[in-house]
């Protein structure tokens, strides 16, 4: 990246609502021309951060800069931002056609043909009152505005509640294709981490208002893994102190430990100790990092299967 000014830069950003601290000393930099995942549990502070970055809310302390300027009440910055949020309110009696008529007035890069194509893709009824739309159709309205606006900085905050798997796939495909044609900065906030993991170039994870992970997505891949083997061997491996333990499970004499901080040296060490290394998904890493329990039913089953261990860990091709 040769772009001088980052799309987003915050320093010590703090936001309090009464006694509650929604954002706690958040310092992040999001490069221009990337798709960044803003991930974390519900209530972690993702939406608050986006509210501050889009000038919809004001920081209590610290600083937020978008394209090098403060966003609050700053028309020259705000007109380059599209913020698509799950909770967006529309005027009473508005229909999707009113949204698609008025949104182009605000986004200078708006592509009407693209919008029309997306309306077809998502089968959005244009003439139905927004209050009568299903949750998925309501999400489609936002997704269409977010994509067709081609704003230099586009935020999608849980953009697809109620959209089925097919519609979500359409969203990912259209986003990728259009992003390739018209590179811009996209911030995607979602809890469907596995679905978007491959789209992301950069990952920021927030937990309880704090940034706990801020890294290029590729660096996270392979950084964490489950180390599986006889308990004594696993403990000896962990005792060497090269990795951080995030989660531990035991079955009989076998231990499976999810660790963070794997590199080539650690990998060789584990393999030489006769331990298996099985990859974990970005979602598993984040879930363990944010102190949560895996809510994905498939994941524990996968872990259990790994625990019973059949695969030879060496060939990872």
């Amino acid at each position: 990246m040769t772009t001088a000014t980052p799309a987003i830069e915050t320093r010590g950003l703090t936001k309090r609502f009464g006694a509650m601290t929604a954002l706690d000393d958040v310092t992040v930099t999001i490069p221009a021309g990337s798709i960044t995942g803003l991930l974390g549990r519900n209530g972690a502070g993702k939406t608050t951060l986006m509210h501050v970055l889009t000038g919809q809310d004001f920081p209590s302390e610290g600083e937020a800069r978008v394209f090098g300027q403060r966003p609050a009440e700053n028309a020259s910055v705000l007109q380059h931002i599209a913020f698509i949020k799950e909770s967006q309110k529309y005027p009473d009696d508005f229909k999707p056609k009113h949204v698609l008529t008025s949104a182009p007035w605000f986004f200078e890069n708006w592509d009407a043909d693209f919008a029309a194509q997306l309306v077809d893709d998502f089968r959005l009824p244009l003439n139905r009152r927004i209050k009568k739309l299903s949750r998925g159709q309501l999400s489609a309205v936002g997704v269409i505005v977010g994509l067709a606006s081609r704003a230099p900085l586009t935020f999608f905050d849980e953009p697809y509640l109620g959209l089925d798997a097919v519609a979500r796939q359409i969203f990912y495909d259209r986003l990728l294709t259009d992003y390739a044609k018209f590179p811009r900065t996209v911030v995607l906030s979602t809890h469907l981490i596995d679905e978007v993991a491959n789209l992301l170039e950069h990952v920021v994870v927030i937990d309880q208002g704090r940034v706990i992970l801020d890294s290029p997505a590729e660096e996270l891949r392979g950084r964490a893994a489950s180390v599986i083997g006889p308990r004594a061997e696993v403990d000896a491996f962990l005792a060497r102190g090269r990795v951080e333990t995030l989660h531990r499970e035991e079955l009989g004499g076998t231990a499976s430990v999810l660790v963070d901080g794997i590199d080539d040296v650690v990998r060789a060490d584990a393999l030489n100790s006769g331990l298996q290394l099985t990859p974990v998904t970005l979602q598993q890493l984040i879930v363990r990092r944010t102190g949560g329990v895996l809510n994905d039913a498939a994941a524990p089953a996968a872990e259990a299967a790994a625990l019973r261990g059949r695969r030879t860990a060496g060939a990872r091709r």
Binding site: T3, F58, F67, A75, S76, D92, F182
Partner: protein
């Protein structure tokens, strides 16, 4: 990958440039008219409804009594019932469009300016319609039944300019009052409305008490006579502007909460 082609401020893929300050305000005006149901159709329907109700009632009175009695005792025109609706309209325009306008990355300042401009356009439009109707009402001697729907004692037998000013001032005043309620609701929610409503009642009662206690009613009456109908209508624009500014001050730190 180089930065060339990345959409950054200043690098656009269309011929249109960034919006000027006026364009940014004007698109808020257009936003208010994007769906004409609330901004045009509903108010006109209400004016029409008021007209029909008053006309029918007056026609029945004339038919039943056989006398050409002036309705409303020559004081209050039927159109007075249109005014409260303008408060409701302004509350809705402020409350519901605010979150959407900010969702489209408008500033609060542009939203306030655009909404004020919309109020002015709206009031001017109604002023033209009502003025025309007031002349029609005279020429048809109260729509054939001596109905007083548009004739306002304030302008008496005044001319075109006075009528336009009077209708305009009253409508815009009501909208500005409504915008304060709308803005306070956006900023402080229901609690804000209770406080504001209470405060307004207190100020009103306090003023009346103050005037009565000091026996200033004569002076107040004298002031009305002195400024005249045109003066009063013009003076009404002052509190209207004050309310508009108060509304904006409330919006300045308001956040569109879900």
């Amino acid at each position: 990958m180089t930065a060339v082609g990345i959409l950054e401020p200043g690098a656009r893929n269309t011929a249109t440039g960034p919006a000027s300050s006026f364009e940014r305000v004007w698109r808020i005006v257009r936003l208010h008219y994007a769906n004409r149901l609330n901004s045009v159709i509903a108010p006109l329907n209400i004016a029409l409804l008021i007209f029909l109700v008053f006309w029918i009632v007056q026609a029945l009175v004339v038919y039943a009594t056989g006398q050409n009695v002036q309705s409303g005792q020559g004081n209050v025109p039927g159109l007075i019932y249109f005014l409260p609706y303008q408060i409701v309209f302004a509350v809705q325009a402020t409350n519901l469009t605010f979150a959407y306008a900010l969702g489209l990355s408008s500033t609060r300042r542009d939203f306030s300016l655009g909404t004020w401009l919309m109020f002015l356009i709206q009031s001017a439009g109604f002023s033209f319609i009502f003025t025309a109707m007031s002349y029609l009402e005279e020429w048809t001697t109260g729509w054939g039944v001596h109905a007083q729907i548009f004739h306002t004692p304030l302008y008496g037998t005044g001319g075109l300019g006075l009528r336009l000013l009077t209708f305009f001032s009253f409508v815009v005043f009501m909208q500005c009052v409504g915008s304060v309620f709308g803005a306070v609701f956006v900023r402080w929610h229901a609690v804000g409305l209770y406080v504001l409503g209470g405060a307004m009642v207190l100020v009103l009662l306090g003023s009346i008490a103050l005037i009565t206690f000091n026996q200033w009613w004569m002076s107040v009456g004298a002031w009305f006579v002195a400024v005249g109908p045109a003066g009063f209508a013009a003076w009404l624009l002052l509190p209207a502007a004050l309310f508009a500014v108060i509304g904006h001050l409330a919006l300045r730190r308001a956040t569109p909460k879900s």
